[in-house]
Symmetry: D3
Subunit: 265 residues, 6 copies
């Protein structure tokens, strides 16, 4: 790969993945609306508001692949979600359409299905049950990507990320955690497979506790290696037992099912 674009590179996940991308491409174009610090030798740094169509068009130009982590990544006011996750995603796909349709890994979310209970085992054909405006924006994103795939041939991996962080920070994440190493190997699989199509992939490690069936994505050859279970004992100590009636114990989306919707203004 010559040039890989990463959006949302100043966010939590972006900062974690940024140093790992040098292996994948000669040049990594690093982007965010926030400050990104200095460029490494192999990096191009571009500050960009996803809601600005022209800026996004220039951002995408010349890239062979896009790791799209950008946009609002928690529940927020609709005006902000509208700009970054709805308009911003449209801008990204139009830019990709204009510039040779580089393959996209789109960071979708488990909050597209957050209202399933934790004792339900689902696969990627389960109807959407988003748990807030953020989750709805990811449903929109998956639908938009699917349409660009069928209408124009644009390939996207729709990765429903569970909890991609250094370590699980509560008991729910024993089921949803994806290690950085596993995400890195998934990125590698997504960009190396000759035909990607537009698959949905659950972004989780090989955890003992599982709600999601990833077999439909097995053609990618991605086999995660980590297991959140090794963190259980320390969570038991630090947090004690999780209340049975907490959304963290009941719903796949955890606390998001309770989050209020912010009013605009």
């Amino acid at each position: 790969m010559k040039r890989l674009l990463i959006t949302g590179a100043a966010g939590g996940l972006g900062r974690a993945m940024r140093p790992r991308l040098g292996k994948l491409a000669e040049i990594v174009r690093v982007s965010d609306i926030a400050d990104l610090g200095a460029a490494a030798a192999h990096e191009e740094v571009v500050q960009c508001d996803l809601g600005d169509a022209n800026a996004v068009d220039r951002l995408v130009e010349g890239c062979d692949a896009i790791l799209h982590l950008g946009g609002i990544s928690v529940e927020d006011k609709f005006s902000k979600i509208l700009n970054a996750n709805l308009l911003g995603l449209y801008n990204l796909y139009e830019a990709a359409r204009a510039h040779g349709q580089p393959r996209i890994l789109f960071a979708s979310s488990n909050h597209t299905v957050g209202f399933y209970r934790q004792d339900q085992h689902i696969d990627t054909t389960a109807p959407m049950r988003p748990d807030g405006l953020y989750g709805v924006s990811k449903c929109f994103g998956e639908a938009l990507a699917r349409m660009y795939f069928e209408k124009f041939g644009q390939e996207t991996a729709l990765v429903r990320i569970g909890s991609c962080m250094e370590r699980p920070s509560n008991h729910r994440m024993l089921s949803t955690w994806m290690s950085y190493d596993d995400f890195e190997s998934m990125i590698d699989c997504v960009f190396r497979v000759p035909m990607l199509g537009c698959p949905i992939i659950w972004g989780i490690s090989d955890n003992d506790s599982r709600w999601w069936d990833n077999s439909a994505a097995a053609f990618l050859g991605w086999r995660p290696k980590d297991n959140a279970e090794r963190f259980r004992a320390e969570l038991d100590v630090s947090l004690g037992r999780q209340a049975a009636d907490s959304p963290l114990s009941v719903y796949q989306g955890g606390m998001f099912v309770r989050d209020p919707i912010f009013e605009d203004g």
Copy 2:
């Protein structure tokens, strides 16, 4: 019912249904962004841009039920769809949440699944395959409605309308047609059933040619009576045989799979 709101009342479907709604409620609040003509005795006429949150809030206040036909109903520039079908729908659901959660019938569309082929028989659990920006906006709408149902208890009937018009105007519509009478009886069922939930309903008459399985919605007691087949002979005469490779013959979404996406500006 005391007051029923109909949005999009100046559109094709709105104009057809408007005179039939007097039976359902004492007062019918008739709304559109376009001119609506004079109010009938039982009507309140309100001009309203769905993208204007305050206007929508006032529009919904005092209503017991909403027949939401408003918004862009064909493929169009994303800026227009964004305003009417994304922001507009959010405004509508926030207004409903503020005003007692009147039951909503939301005019979704077969274009949420337009890329299925006509020889595929699907039910309401089939993954979305939208055929354009309009279809994507309806996927967004269904996801938003589902979230408001699970999070706040807001009930909505998600009606994937096929082709609701006086008569089928091409051979594809022999499968997608819904008569005005059948739509009227469906509206009646949706607003009378004690518990509605948030079901997806295929909006088609009892046509001989069928792609969609409506059995999941049978709890509503809606049994359409019309059949597009009686129009076949006259379509054969007026249009001749439909080309086998036309999107009209191949895809459930018909010509929409070919429509270009308009650039903003």
Copy 3:
């Protein structure tokens, strides 16, 4: 058929069907624990407690077919259900095994699945979700019948009766009603089909409002003719609108989901 046994003949459903059975067999053996009145010309009247194994053995002897409506048919103390519906059913199947395995139509119940919501459309493979001790006893009955079928070849029709009565008495029954005529024609199909096996059949008329898919039983050739819909208008008048949050509006089992369990004593 030479001799048909009907149990529970003094109950509501038994009294309704008793006069219709003369067509099916030369002799109808009419049984109940309660008083049965005088025998008609073609009838044998036998009072019998299903919990009495010897009495049940004599009851079944000489019969070619059994219409088993007997036992407790509403929620009740477990001691009564235990005697009539658990022990009683075992007695019946042992008697049948001893006397040539006459074919059985077993009156199971929609209360085996009473906790499904009314907006769920299910078929006969849906896991059991009984709504009380009565429903649990019918789950037991279906399991017992299935075991006698696989182990000994005993054939049984497991009829999950909805609401078999003169007319629907509330709005829920617009979905669950089975007319006496339709039940009669079903009985005829069950006893005439050369191979019956051990099918589950939903006992409902051809109602506009439906929750249950009967296609698995279509091999019987039973096509119900009645439709509860014709009673809707008069129910609207006599009962008014059913509350949205009543179990009658929400659960397939209606009020049974709320019924307390009686203590023994």
Copy 4:
């Protein structure tokens, strides 16, 4: 249609359908290995062994559509089935490939699934369970047709004919019967639909007793009108009750599950 080819025109089904085909095409090319009698005004009569590749090539040349009823239609020696149903079908599809790929209605058979029991309700995705060499040859035919569809675009309707005859001649056929009128209307649907694809269609009338789910083929707009039930009473009189353990009562394929395989020679 200019020229429609019918093969097997001297067989039972062929003789019944031949007089009905004049409506469908200007010229009907009538073919069989057996004597076909005189040609009607609109007919071309061609005697042909399906195992003769050159003869089949000439037979197909110039035809717009093919109603393929030819080949062995009962259990028989493998050598005969090999020639007519395996080699013969290959010859037919190669000829079609050479001559513009006229649409084909292929008379497949319920004997592709004959080992299902009659109390099993299946759709077209149920795995094959052929009941003899004849059934196996039809499995081959369906696989061959499917391959020509996916590899070369050749369209075929795979019609699993139940029992297409004047009237049902035993109780099993109350479930499998298809009237000549219903077959005729199906042929009409198959040749008129703009895109056919390669669907499997169960060839049965709208019988009260049903084992097969035809909903996947509803896109064709075929709605059969006849019902074998009206023949039940006379079958009861003429045949008496069918034995419960007869293959006619147990298996969808009826007596075919018992038929010996003929030795060659």
Copy 5:
């Protein structure tokens, strides 16, 4: 956990698990109808007939969790099964309802599905096919537990135990074996998970030979570690080849499909 009740502690499985439970709770209340020997330091020993409602009520009082291994665990006379497995289970659930609904692990059985063939791979939604009165009583137990869950919120793990013993004693158990270690870790998972619900769990180790799909229970985080395969060679030597037509080779329930039903008396 303060106090864990184990029933059936004098049975084969009870004796094996009893010494392992001290880790789980401060006090282990050990119960059976048979003699239980002396109490260990952390144990309370209570002899109890499950058919005695008052005794069961006292047994359950003060417990935080119940490991219900009690009742008849093989095919037996119905009178004994009725007392221990039907009435006894009702008594247990009523006692639990009266005393704060302690979480229950209910030892259900593979004999609820014993009539499936060994070449059928099933999950927990497969309809029940019990292989005897014992299996039927476990179907009853699962239905009862489900009802108490939906009606009263009582949580139960329905564990369909295969063959939980020191080592497999025949070839069938290469598929059904669960090691004591794996059962112990499952018990741990069941009582630690914040929300249990009412799941069905197949009680088997990670055997090479498998008939049952446990993915629906993966939310528990239980990952068995043992594998019966290591015993194959010694079974081959000690038992020789298992006959192909033995129920041990054909049915999931093994010999139970053949067991006679004992007459009462």
Copy 6:
């Protein structure tokens, strides 16, 4: 086992497996139409044309088990496929029927489903989608074997072999590869299991990249040990990146979807 027959022993797969079969049987009867070289001490060498019924009858006589690798194993002229794979297979099954029904492992092929895309995950119930005449002949073989199983009790393992060779020779085979060791252990499982039935088994190692779900065959106790992934790096070096639009990248059947059908003559 006393005598094991292997057909196709001179082919690529046959030559690889031949030296491994001595462990399985006292005598290995080695057969092919081509030259087989000298017999080892435990071998009987028999040259045989599968299309010759008498020769096949003698070939099968006296054998306890058959490893049927014989016949045409790539796309070829139909006349050759007809002789070896259609007539030849019939001859084999008739010979088996005449000689005690020795258990058969039939080398079916992934080309029965070659038109599925690589991003589709399928199990053994997926409808056939053969990619050529060779694939169609394997569909025939599976149907024939199934019929002999249901009609006569003949057991067969239908092994849809992916790519059984020393090592993968292109990127597609990273998903389809089965090592010789894994095939050997599968053969062992197939011939040792007491009841085999007629299962379909995907013949692949435990590769990271997978399209096929083998869980239905888990009752065999076969757990493959190899993983093609270890060959990826060297394929990357030797072959470079596989083109995205190559059939090797798109279809499960790879290049077979493109292969022309050879004309006879």
